[in-house]
Point group: C2
Chain length 268, copies 2
């Protein structure tokens, strides 16, 4: 039986205390090196596998410090502080003994409380009513069934300013796969660069840091199953080589699964 491409990519083997060994996967190739979302999922997976883990992820920040080279890598995941119901982790991906990413993870035991959602899912057509994007370019794009509702990839690259960088799209793994923390994390990075949408110009760029806050626990992810995730993101500021975006991810039932933010480097 073939492993799902996501499971194959996040398969890590123990390599000493707090260390795991993995390798990049051609299925997730980006323009240079792997898709950042899969790198993030690999780092989170080291925490998820750790025998000392307490609870489920509530927050994760990964910094892309250098290009990840194709081939082997090591992930270090160390519990920095363990409390009664929360735990703080430092994580790092290394290649040739050098950090290619840094990051932190917080896990926690969660209990039901008063709840509310102010980031309400917008009213949009169901996934079945929307055309699936055609594959193009790099391999990792094929890892998602993506259906754009707003702010899709420009059809012409003639540098017109769209005025807004908001994207809304239904997204799920391709082939489909029940949602979990690793796949949700990878999906949080699935937005194409906001500045390409805004400027219709493919300036050179790369994500430098990504944060995910997990509103869903394991049970809610499980109930989402292989359904689609509505992904929304919009740029806030673009200046002196850096732009940020703020994003939200909901399941088809309208539950807010995660919020996510990232900062991206760009040139020109």
């Amino acid at each position: 039986m073939m492993l799902h491409p996501l499971d194959a990519a996040i398969a890590l083997e123990p390599a000493g205390e707090h260390c795991w060994r993995g390798r990049t996967s051609a299925d997730w190739a980006n323009f240079i090196g792997p898709y950042g979302g899969i790198t993030a999922a690999q780092m989170l997976q080291a925490v998820l596998l750790h025998p000392q883990r307490l609870g489920d992820p509530v927050a994760f920040t990964v910094n892309f410090a250098a290009a990840v080279a194709d081939g082997e890598f090591t992930v270090e995941a160390r519990p920095a502080r363990t409390n009664r119901s929360t735990q703080h982790w430092t994580v790092q991906m290394l290649q040739d003994g050098q950090a290619v990413t840094t990051g932190t993870v917080m896990t926690a035991l969660r209990r039901p409380t008063w709840a509310a959602t102010e980031a309400v899912m917008p009213q949009v057509p169901a996934p079945s009513e929307v055309v699936r994007e055609k594959f193009r370019g790099v391999r990792w794009i094929e890892r998602y069934d993506r259906r754009y509702l707003e702010g899709d990839v420009p059809r012409s690259w003639e540098g017109q300013d769209s005025g807004s960088s908001r994207t809304r799209s239904w997204v799920r793994d391709a082939p489909d796969r029940p949602l979990d923390f690793a796949s949700l994390t990878a999906i949080a990075d699935n937005f194409f660069p906001r500045i390409w949408l805004r400027r219709a110009t493919q300036v050179p760029l790369g994500t430098v840091t990504l944060t995910v806050y997990y509103h869903a626990g394991a049970a809610l992810l499980q109930s989402t199953g292989t359904g689609y995730v509505l992904c929304q993101a919009q740029g806030q500021g673009f200046r002196d080589g850096y732009l940020d975006q703020s994003g939200q991810l909901w399941n088809e039932a309208g539950d807010l699964l995660a919020t996510t933010h990232q900062l991206m480097y760009y040139k020109e």
Copy 2:
């Protein structure tokens, strides 16, 4: 001459390679231990003081792993990766040899590029037209001149649901002080808990992680001087003991200085 309370709080002395020693400051006391914004500023300051630093902060994430006790602390700031124009740092605050915070900082040399702001400053009355909040409760509140435009602290705590957790306020240091990376970082945490606004109930809580993306470079901060910063934040999701907020900070001229996000623990 007396040091400004912010400068007194972030005064760190060298304590070995990559290490600085500081102490908590009564001027910044919160309900338990110090205000999180000043702890964040102290951590950033260790990077700002580091002789190997390349460029100015572009992103900072701090995780509040345990209560900071009143007294001495050590901040470790280590360059994890240095590139041609960017640098990635891991930072940690220690007390009694145990991590009380973890974090990461990214610094960079920035160059002028195409620029735009989609998070446009809302039209609001000028600071001089708005009444200053009266001091109340804990000491750190007195460290800011804060003028609420929307979503101020509830006057009655009778548990009515406000339906929205959006706050807008003009804020500057008190006494006033020219804006820089340390003070902007502290201001990014100045919002009172979104769930108190939403529920008008003082449930127990605490920030567990805070991220700041710096859109302003040193020159823009300098030109902002001792002017007010318009601070906006709103909760996105509240569930199973954790809520997140998304925020924006502009100067009086309408320049987006920073965007900020945080996740907060709450009980009940």
